[in-house]
């Protein structure tokens, strides 16, 4: 079978475009703008204090995120309203495109309506009712969609079943809802390696098959694979380049972990997606300059103390 064409998923803010494609640098979707499991952040949001959002956005941008995932799933609150507010704040702070993350359809719709640009929607499963609820919104607001090849019964462990469900997603999205195939981003479901030693290879097989058959862009939660293990950053930093080698084009990850970000950018270079190492060398110079500035400041402070 001949290789599938390169598919370009175009995401935009009001002023900036980011493109996901298998011949381009990996797309880092910064994930921290999410209160799940963060008690203090949740309490702040309930009290109308949004200051943590600003801190998280700036940290993800500084860490090298290309897109920002925004999730406002705080139990017992008005999620649509919260999400609209958060998107407004994010768009006032950065020109990076946004990935609107919710499993509440009303929140997705409110978020899409408020967003300026072309968003990525996170996410939709292959279940009939979820496809029917989410895909019309993706079409209406001209967005792209992250879709997971799991259905009502289970998260399938075999690659074959995931390919089958990817086929269903592609068919339903393109034929029934008129969504361009370029705007479908598959999450191939990388599961924790600590709970089952076979899931790494199964996920890599799935990624390769989806890449070869459709050329679809793919993303994943980068830290899923290392759940329950020590040394998680090192595992994530090994996982993403392996996945990139077989067609993964993006990940939802914490851009504040330099170990993982650098692994991804080195893999970009090695896969030929960073021609002549331009981005790699610039990043090195930026770090060098920052270190020099820091050393100079320390020296100046010491001199001031001595006098």
């Amino acid at each position: 079978m001949g290789a599938a064409p390169v598919r370009e998923t175009r995401l935009r803010s009001a002023t900036k475009e980011v493109v996901l494609a298998s011949n381009r640098p990996f797309c880092i979707i910064g994930e921290r703008i999410n209160p799940t499991g963060r008690k203090v952040f949740q309490a702040q949001l309930r009290a109308g204090d949004y200051s943590a959002i600003e801190k998280d956005v700036l940290a993800q941008v500084a860490g090298g995120a290309d897109v920002l995932d925004v999730n406002m799933g705080v139990p017992l609150t008005d999620e649509p309203e919260l999400l609209v507010r958060a998107i407004g704040i994010v768009q006032s702070l950065t020109d990076l495109p946004v990935c609107i993350d919710s499993s509440v359809v009303e929140a997705l719709e409110a978020g899409l309506a408020a967003y300026k640009g072309r968003a990525l929607v996170n996410s939709c499963t292959a279940e009939d009712d979820r496809l029917a609820a989410v895909l019309p919104l993706v079409k209406k607001y001209d967005a792209a969609i992250i879709a997971l090849p799991n259905d009502h019964d289970e998260i399938p462990m075999e690659s074959g079943k995931r390919i089958e469900l990817t086929e269903k997603i592609v068919r339903v999205a393109t034929e029934e809802y008129g969504i361009a195939i370029e705007d479908i981003v598959i999450d191939p479901l990388a599961m924790p390696i600590g709970a089952d030693p076979t899931v790494g290879v199964a996920a890599l097989e799935t990624i390769r098959a989806i890449h070869e058959r459709w050329g679809l862009n793919m993303t994943c939660g980068a830290s899923n694979v290392s759940f329950g293990m020590p040394g998680r950053h090192a595992i994530n930093a090994a996982w993403l380049p392996l996945a990139m080698g077989v067609g993964m084009t993006s990940a939802i990850m914490d851009a504040r972990t330099p170990q993982v970000v650098e692994a991804v950018r080195a893999a970009d270079l090695l896969l030929g997606h960073d021609e002549w190492g331009g981005a790699w060398i610039s990043a090195f110079r930026r770090r060098q300059a920052a270190e020099a500035a820091l050393a100079q400041a320390a020296e100046a402070a010491q001199a001031a103390l001595a006098t």
Binding site: P75, D153, I155, P192, F227, G228, P230
Partner: protein
Amino acid sequence: MTPEEILQGLYDRTLEGNGPAVLELTHEALGMQMQPGSLLFDALIPALEEVGARFERGDFFVPEMLIAGRAMAGSMEVLRPLLADTGVETIGKFVMGTVKGDVHDIGKNLVNIMLEGAGFEVIDLGVQVAPEKFVAAIEEHQPDIVGFSAFLTTTMPMFKANMNALEKAGLRDKVIVMVGGAPVTQEYADVVGADGYAADASQTVKRAKALLHERRAKVLA
């Protein structure tokens, strides 16, 4: 080997997650006419308690917990019928399931391992368990505790739906309800009217035992 050496071996090999060795020692012990209850209470349960303690301290990791649980389960398959024959009772019965709309089960399975490791009989209903299925299982098995697991903020509301179904079936006072899962908090557990919440597998065991103790004390009083 002396009985003491067998018990020590069972404890050590279970802690290491060496399933074949645990099974072999189990057969050897039974061949020596050791009591099944002694193997369970003097070796297997203490081993899994140690697994839980190490996990809580961050000295043990998920794969180690899983293989220790699997090693114990292999031995329990041999012991369970014998325990029933000799009238050894489990410390309690636990019906467990991931709520409707949710297919996540890794966390739930870890909790099951630790509950079984503590001597509970666990009836696992799997994932996507509808309220009426919980009701039917509670009627059939008459557990001491039922556990609802949810991994998504969107499936957490099923806790309330399950509670309503228990109320309607007249079962609410007959069973202790525990809830858990990544996005779940004590506050949320209180809002839905659950009896208990725990943040991880080994805390679930502690909380379950404490709730059971409270309930039994109340019944006796």
